[in-house]
Symmetry: C2
Subunit: 327 residues, 2 copies
């Protein structure tokens, strides 16, 4: 690891005038929040900023002030000096159109909290001890004296709150809470912003949950739980990708369940499998690899041919072998 320093990055930002700010495809709160946080700080300094995300702005983050400036690239090339990649573990995960939009940039800055980030920028700042890229940017902005506007304040809070499961995950640090306290002292309306972040979803998400629960299957020993979603239901409900986000936690959290699996039929007929493990001895990444997938030990995925039933039979058998070997 050979990180650039905050002062080096700050100098590069101050010396240039035009920026494209990007994050990963299928953006979450830390992706969009980080983009808005540093982007608005640069705008306050009179810089030209393009906020670009391959997949555009998810509906559930459209409440963020200034998010209306985020554009979904369609193949155009932007005339910018500097590309900033945030919260994006690999360069390809920025997306093809976003990469094309950034292709004129002569300097790449890469700031992230994913340990696997290969430092694909000219200047890199990777801190895997930080629970969110938003928290790295908070430290950067406050220590380097960049403007912390209301837009930046709210964006940082949402970035960190969403990436820590509302300050719950083990990645949360004492500094995370101190940051939240500081943002409140800077005027953050904590009840309002959390209501918009967590307490608001379209009816179709509730209907989706109902349909998923009606397919829930729990193994006889209670250690394996799964549910499924056929493509026709996605069409019937007009589902968007973010609608199913986090729902699997509901079955993962059931006492006794060690592995929770979500089987989803995609538009192209492929089956997507999302697996979550609660047992460190059951490595779902290993199971995913059997089917050409990948991920992490506790959260992994597969994309494969077949029907939901045939894929479920095969994946369940692999999981059952591992569960039985660990009983």
């Amino acid at each position: 690891m050979s990180n650039s320093t905050f002062p080096e990055i700050a100098q590069a930002l101050r010396e240039h005038q035009s920026f494209i700010i990007m994050s990963h495809v299928r953006p979450d709160g830390d992706a969009i929040g980080s983009q808005l946080a540093i982007g608005h700080a640069l705008e306050q300094l009179g810089k030209t900023v393009y906020y670009v995300n391959e997949d555009g702005l998810p509906d559930n983050l459209a409440f963020l002030p200034h998010s209306e400036n985020l554009i979904q690239p369609k193949g155009e090339v932007l005339d910018v000096e500097v590309a900033i990649a945030l919260d994006c573990a690999t360069k390809p995960r920025l997306g093809d159109n976003a990469l094309k939009a950034a292709s004129k940039a002569k300097l790449w800055i890469n700031m992230d909290h994913h340990i696997s980030n290969p430092e694909y920028g000219d200047l890199n700042y990777i801190d895997s001890t930080s629970p969110a890229t938003g928290q790295i940017l908070y430290n950067f902005i406050t220590s380097e004296g960049f403007p912390l506007s209301d837009v930046t304040r709210d964006a940082i809070y949402v970035a960190v709150s969403t990436d820590t499961g509302s300050f719950q995950y083990g990645s949360t640090t004492a500094e995370t809470y101190e940051m939240a306290a500081d943002l409140m002292r800077r005027g953050l309306k904590v009840g309002q912003i959390n209501a918009k972040t967590y307490d608001s979803h379209p009816y179709r998400r509730v209907e989706l949950l109902r349909r998923l629960l009606n397919t829930l299957q729990l193994s006889e020993d209670g250690r394996l739980a799964d549910w499924q979603l056929v493509y026709s239901t996605q069409i019937a409900l007009g589902l968007k990708p973010e609608d199913s986000e986090g729902l699997i936690d509901m079955i993962r959290a059931v006492d006794g369940v060690e592995v929770a699996v979500f089987y989803e039929e995609l538009k192209d007929g492929m089956i997507r499998v999302s697996m979550r493990s609660k047992n460190k001895e059951i490595n779902v990444c290993d199971v995913a690899k059997v089917f050409g997938g990948g991920g992490h030990a506790m959260a992994a995925g597969i994309r494969t041919d077949g029907t939901i039933e045939s894929v479920r039979d095969a994946v369940s058998a692999e999981l059952r072998d591992r569960l039985d070997a660990n009983s």
Copy 2:
């Protein structure tokens, strides 16, 4: 308001030797957490402490260290000098058996964050600006130099976390976050304790949610949503009171819904109605009063004769009048 001071309460605690510590019936995280927090501090000082709750310890809080010492009173009278009531807005809400257990106490201390608390103690400390009684106790313990053991630390965190919806509600203050940071610096294992608090529930809770969702009705204009639970389902699933806690938030959070209502058939055949409003102009306490119930403007309840259908018809009509008058 004529609060006693922290030093006055601290002196009373130091001067006495035996304590009964109580909280409200149907206890939640702030109730049990507050009991354990101050109780263990007193035990560390060599005092005799009885932890008493009318309804005993809910399963979902049994992970709290030291909670196994909490007893459910059965009519006995305890030989104690001091009674401490925590997080309990009125004295009767301590419960008849708890009050009997405390009947020998010659000094009553009442600490709470409910604005309506009528100061029924000999020494009272009511701070309605605090999001949780646990946060008041944290301030008390740290400012008065009482021991802050690991038991007290974890209990305070859970008390405040649960009463703020994991640091989300508008009642959360900058001091709340600073407290959490301090508890982490004192060794709190933030990931573990939150997993136990939020990421663990019995299968019957998921099955309950499925059944509730299958009764969900949304009004044509999308402003009123309700679901219902018959008593036979409660028996079939072996439900406990805490199993339904917070589930109504799922329908309250639907975009466009202004009032969410839960109709529940009780063991005695009565119908309990829980109403949640998101619109400040729709005062559900006023609606509850029509049926002999009460509560707050945004959260109110009714307990009445009838069938779920007849009660639902009557309550829906009252709500519809108010919704139509505010459209």
